[in-house]
Symmetry: C2
Subunit: 481 residues, 2 copies
């Protein structure tokens, strides 16, 4: 698999302003969209295809991919830009079973809050418990809730946690820690903002410290900065979290080369890859949305020079995580050295959200394309494996909307030139330019493949996803900590 | 069935500012949303339920319900308002099979236009042909395309066309007419804006005139004004369209009482019910979205005094249309007087879109609840009948977004108090206040029940819907006129 090379090539072509003709572009160029039936996506009755996609059995592995802030509007603009309106996102659009789910969070009074944050939404699918904005796998009363990753580990499964964000950011954090505020990355913030969680107060520690305790086999993301903080109490008192990780047997890597050299990861030698001090660099940059951006000539996105080859792509990270989580299983089988336990892996494309907050259309689209490539990796593996469930969804909807090409609106607009050489205008209007564009409260697309994936069809809630994955992996029914 | 009474009662309670506790509200009040699993919508594996919902066979009847402008954001805000975030829209949310579809239109050059209008989108599902904004069932070259309603009629099925808009508006028009511009309601506009379609130039006439020619068994909506226009040429020259309708055997009704008295409708005596000069009055009114509306105290929607009992609800119209389209079939069977031919019925909740354009949250939500009641009528019938496909979707996405409660944003916000006593702030920011809020380009939810409904699952295009319904009803494969 060399998605990295392919994506670089596409990006370079895009940067040169060329009309990129990939396989998807060729597919739609071959038919005339204005013909009767020319824009069809189905060809004939697919009832049997859907029936074949239904599998109520158990999965050996589950890969959950989250596009942070990836609403239907974000999916559509990325598809339009990269593959054309009639094209297909080769990962995201290939999931056979689809539905919508509700994402609301709760106030601390237990009443619905219609616009959630990524902490409450992650807590919902990680634990099956609705909670308040800011909660990292604790309920509205601050009580810890067991997570999918923890329950999978308890059952003897291998586990992985991958993100393009700081690894302490809400979405990766909800699988490995229980703290009362998402801001409690390390000992310093925890002392101030999550006092009941602080080690010095008898708590379980910050998100980073709990991550080291939870000890997934594979942890890959950003957020190295926090690991220079010093433990305030307990066995590791006075030592940095990085020293602690080394002493506790973690393999530490920090770039694509050192990651490539890792041959195995397990409970004896878990892998902790931190590829940036903060969040990983985004794939694309482009024109900023401005008050009159929609009326300007349509522009192309270009490669972000800050994302160097030293930083693995999300597809690379996903590919490596699957290799490491699966490999020992296969080795075990092949050498009679143990049974294949299966694995649970969460993968987050985090900066769709971060770019949407910043009214940065090229950033947002590039990150969605990056996630789509990770979905392709997961689906390819699942199809070969034959016993893996892949679920792709988002945590909450976001601001960006596709508006009339060339129009300006209240708030901010930007005009992009898509790969099919058409203008696409995107609007951001839930905050002023200097502020952060808001999450929105719409229900979201959820899609799946493999055992138990039929449970995403129809209308579900975000908490249902915990139970769907628990059922697929045969995890303990109790989700309590 | 007395949905009318029930909906009035709910509306009155809502108007009084009371916490409305309907069946849905009771359902969620019984569990604590903050409990582990308390917010689940599924209860156990539903793979078998989904498998049972798959039916690749033929349908005797198809009911297609369109919420104009009903994106996922509009669905979510209506659910939150009326049934609570954890509640269920009893019609829309009950469809078992779900997916997303793309809605882009084409320029006259055949290239994608990412934000479509209701004419191009209606043309897509009515004919299977993508076309330009403004096109009423003609392709990008202006060539007429056969519609589902016409093809159904040709096969001997009964047909119906119901809308809360003017019956010449784009969504109802696409099933009964082929004109080059959606504005060509009657002879006057057609002479000026669709000259090739004008009778005096050898064309097929305006939308209203073609509607009379197409002669569905049941046509119910608004738009009476145009019927006072006078035919400019042909057999009916000099007579009003209303006179023409009477002379051609149509039964004309104009209010709930006269509609109630109709006992049958068929090709000898088709029914034309026009209940308003323009569009039907909307169900609810409420506070206007303003620059600082989000920061004002949350308010309730109230009943629109302009919608009197003389105007049937969309559920009433749907119920009556089904009765008339089905009754003769049943009578035929019962009396040995003929076989049951089945029917095709399109129902549009038009003013979700119109209220969204006007940044009118209460209007939009009330119309969506109205459509949901029509969906309940259709689903109830389909479940009893056992051989009816029901599809519910929208034509294009729209502006409204649910933002942080109490926030103000660029553009316009309004703060509503939902039935679960929580503030919900909605933003409109794709046009200035005096302008019309825009359609948006996001993919949309499509959901179905019954034979061939599995074809909505996954990602499809709006044109696929033509082929899905054609296949369900066994219509002629050629969609050409």
């Amino acid at each position: 698999m060399n998605l990295r090379t392919r994506s670089r090539r596409l990006a370079v072509a895009a940067a040169a302003g060329a009309l990129v003709v990939g396989s998807s572009a060729l597919a739609y160029a071959a038919t005339d969209l204005s013909d009767h039936g020319g824009a069809q996506r189905n060809h004939g009755d697919k009832t049997k295809t859907i029936a074949r996609a239904l599998d109520g059995g158990k999965a050996e592995n589950v890969i959950l991919l989250i596009g942070d802030g990836m609403g239907d509007s974000e999916i559509t603009s990325a598809r339009n830009y990269e593959h054309g309106a009639a094209g297909k996102l080769p990962g995201i659009d290939a999931l056979p079973l689809t539905g919508q789910y509700t994402t609301y969070s709760l106030g601390k009074d237990g009443k619905p809050d219609y616009v959630p944050d990524s902490a409450a939404t992650g807590t919902a699918w990680a634990t099956g418990t609705k909670s308040y904005d800011g909660a990292i796998s604790v309920d509205v009363d601050g009580k810890p809730q067991a997570t999918l990753l923890e329950l999978a580990k308890k059952k003897g499964l291998r586990t992985g946690n991958v993100s393009t964000a700081e690894i302490q950011d809400a979405t990766p954090a909800v699988q490995v820690a229980q703290v009362t505020s998402r801001r409690c990355y390390g000992p310093v913030a925890t002392a101030a903002q999550c006092p009941t969680n602080a080690l010095e107060n008898g708590g379980e520690g910050s998100i980073s410290e709990q991550l080291l305790d939870t000890r997934p086999d594979v942890t890959l993301g950003g957020g190295a900065a926090t690991f220079s903080e010093v433990a305030a109490a307990g066995r590791w008192k006075g030592r940095t979290l990085q020293q602690q990780a080394v002493e506790r047997g973690y393999q530490l890597v920090d770039d694509a080369d050192s990651l490539a050299k890792v041959r195995s990861a397990d409970q004896r030698r878990p892998l902790l890859g931190l590829f940036a001090s903060g969040n990983l660099a985004q794939r694309w940059i482009g024109p900023k949305a401005t008050e009159d951006g929609g009326s300007k000539p349509a522009q192309r996105c270009t490669e972000n020079p800050e994302r160097t080859d030293a930083q693995p792509t999300l597809a690379d990270l996903t590919d490596k995580a699957i290799d490491l989580l699966d490999e020992d299983g296969r080795r075990g089988k092949g050498h009679g050295g143990g049974k294949d336990e299966g694995f649970f892996l969460q993968v987050e494309g985090a900066s769709i959200d971060k770019a949407d907050h910043a009214a940065n259309a090229c950033g947002q689209i590039g990150e969605l394309i990056d996630l789509d490539e990770a979905v392709q990796v997961a689906l390819d593996y699942a199809k070969k494996d034959g016993n893996t469930t892949v679920i792709v969804t988002a945590d909450h909807a976001h601001t960006s909307q596709i508006v009339e090409a060339g129009s300006t609106t209240p708030g901010y607009t930007v005009n992009l030139l898509t790969n099919e050489d058409r203008p696409m205008t995107i609007n951001y209007a839930t905050a002023e330019a200097e502020g952060s564009q808001q999450h929105t409260g719409s229900q979201l697309r959820i899609a799946g493949y493999g055992p138990q994936a039929a449970n995403v069809v129809g209308l579900t809630d975000q908490t249902d996803l915990f139970f769907t994955i628990s059922r697929a992996l045969g995890l303990s029914k109790s989700g309590r900590h």
